[in-house]
């Protein structure tokens, strides 16, 4: 029997074949992958995982592909760093950073979801990959498509910064700038996804794409010595990542890889785009869409597809949510860099800033085994911190001047 049983509607439970479908025809609810866990339990063990490749494909039994991996062979198995310095600063004994700044090949967690999405897309016979993105997702789809020899279309808003456009063009996809605002881009891309036989990774391939995020849960459990953390802090854009980390931990428990999962799932947003965290704070089970205004652009999704499910996940796990200002985002980036030597993009600043708040509120305690997910590399969002990191010392090429500046023992 196949390990993927069906696609199932998250709302009404209607099942569909495992094809390129993403919306329930009956109630228009989102679809997700349903697995045959009895079969997977037989095929997967700690030993079989440890014998697998040093990539996310070591968990392929719990990923939505029928055959072996064909695209994105090097994604995953990023370091889990015991952050002793940052932990000491925050008053946490067991703080870990899951460092997807160094994920391959494009230095963000998106390489995980795209590896899974395009491997599945190839299985379904697609030759063209597409996405609508302002940053990390576009980079990852374009890079993977280039390596796989697939056609690639990247849709971007017409007013995107030049550096971000370049970051896509280097892989030579067809980059399509759409005149109009963000909402117009959204609507056109949704319509194109319905018209063309393309693997639009976060539209018609989304049920498979989203499953790639589970590997961030699997890896952390394995790297902690086969245990679930007590607390995780996860940045939220669409909210999908947070829900899939929870799903991954529960799946490990379901197939017997983990005995106990009592992880509290905590969500982090920037105040300038915090529809989910605001709903949490207001005690609502629904979010109100917002117009984003934050430097954390990779999290700037004002009408998040999985916002409702993120709220549900946090409630179910007993976690919390909070949001931070742009100044706190920058402070978070600097704090992580200056204590652990990890330069994260703005989403990382959101995570660290929110972690700080949750510790201060007492939601995360000193002895909790806590994992903060850092999902992208700071070299991609240098403009966010360029005015807040100071300037180099400038001196003439003279030993005397150097010693005048730093003193005899300076820098010893």
């Amino acid at each position: 029997m196949a390990k993927m049983k069906a696609l199932i509607c998250r709302e009404c439970g209607k099942e569909y074949p495992t094809e390129a479908l993403h919306v329930c025809e009956l109630c228009f609810g989102p679809l997700e992958v349903k697995y045959n866990y009895d079969e997977i339990r037989e095929a997967m063990s700690r030993a079989s995982i440890e014998a697998g490749p040093k990539s996310l494909w070591r968990y392929k039994e719990l990923l939505p592909v029928e055959g072996g991996p064909t695209i994105g062979l090097h994604a995953g198995m990023t370091p889990l760093v015991h952050a002793k310095n940052l932990g000491a600063f925050l008053g946490l004994d067991e703080l870990y950073i899951k460092n997807d700044c160094v994920n391959q090949p494009t230095l963000s967690f998106k390489d995980r979801v795209v590896a899974v999405a395009l491997t599945r897309a190839r299985e379904l016979g697609y030759e063209t990959a597409a996405c609508a993105s302002t940053g990390n997702l576009a980079n990852s789809v374009a890079a993977h498509a280039a390596q796989a020899g697939m056609q690639c279309y990247v849709f971007i808003p017409g007013d995107l910064e030049a550096a971000k456009v370049l970051g896509n063009l280097i892989y030579r996809p067809k980059v399509v700038e759409i005149e109009g605002n963000y909402d117009d881009v959204n609507r056109l891309c949704s319509e194109i996804a319905g018209e063309r036989r393309w693997a639009f990774v976060n539209v018609n391939i989304r049920p498979y794409y989203a499953e790639g995020s589970k590997t961030l849960a699997f890896e952390v459990a394995e790297q902690l010595g086969w245990r679930a953390p007590d607390q995780v802090v996860v940045p939220m854009a669409s909210g999908s990542l947070l829900t899939k980390i929870w799903k991954g931990l529960k799946e490990f428990q379901k197939i017997g890889i983990l005995k106990d999962v009592s992880t509290k799932i905590n969500g982090a947003q920037a105040e300038g785009c915090s529809p989910i965290a605001t709903a949490y704070k207001d005690g609502r089970d629904f979010f109100k869409p917002v117009k984003p205004s934050t430097i954390a652009k990779s999290l700037a999704i004002g009408n998040p597809a999985d916002g409702y499910y993120a709220l549900k996940t946090v409630a179910e796990s007993g976690g919390a949510m909070d949001a931070v200002t742009d100044d706190e985002v920058i402070e978070g980036i600097k704090l992580l860099a200056q204590t652990e030597g990890i330069f994260a993009e703005t989403a990382g600043g959101v995570t660290i800033g929110t972690l700080r708040k949750l510790v201060k509120q007492g939601a995360i305690k000193k002895h909790d085994v806590t994992v903060a997910y850092i999902t992208g590399n700071g070299l991609k969002t240098q403009e966010a911190v360029v005015d807040s990191v100071g300037r180099p010392f400038r001196i003439p090429p003279s030993l005397v001047k150097f010693e005048q500046t730093f003193g005899q023992q300076g820098g010893a």
Binding site: L26, F28, K110, N136, N186, S190, E191
Partner: protein
């Protein structure tokens, strides 16, 4: 004949208005509501529009002019 699916949100002041009924009369489109949650202060509906593509486009513009918010069924797809 085209079928397009949208997520429609109603600001509080628009909740009492029969907006979907009006759109069905003002444009050559057939509307089919599949899921909805309408409360005192907020409301949304997942709706399928059937008709000629241009007419659906006009109906969507009409909806927006009436002050309701229209998104693709997937909500934000730009990541």
């Amino acid at each position: 004949m085209t079928k397009l699916r949208f997520h429609i949100r109603f600001p509080e002041e628009k909740i009492p208005e029969p907006v979907i009924y009006q759109i069905g009369h003002e444009y050559q489109v057939v509307t089919s509501i599949r899921r909805a949650d309408v409360r005192e202060t907020t409301g949304w509906m997942d709706v399928e529009f059937s008709g000629e593509t241009e007419e659906i486009e006009r109906a969507i513009t009409g909806l927006r002019e009436k002050g309701v918010l229209v998104d693709p069924i997937e909500l934000n797809v730009v990541e």
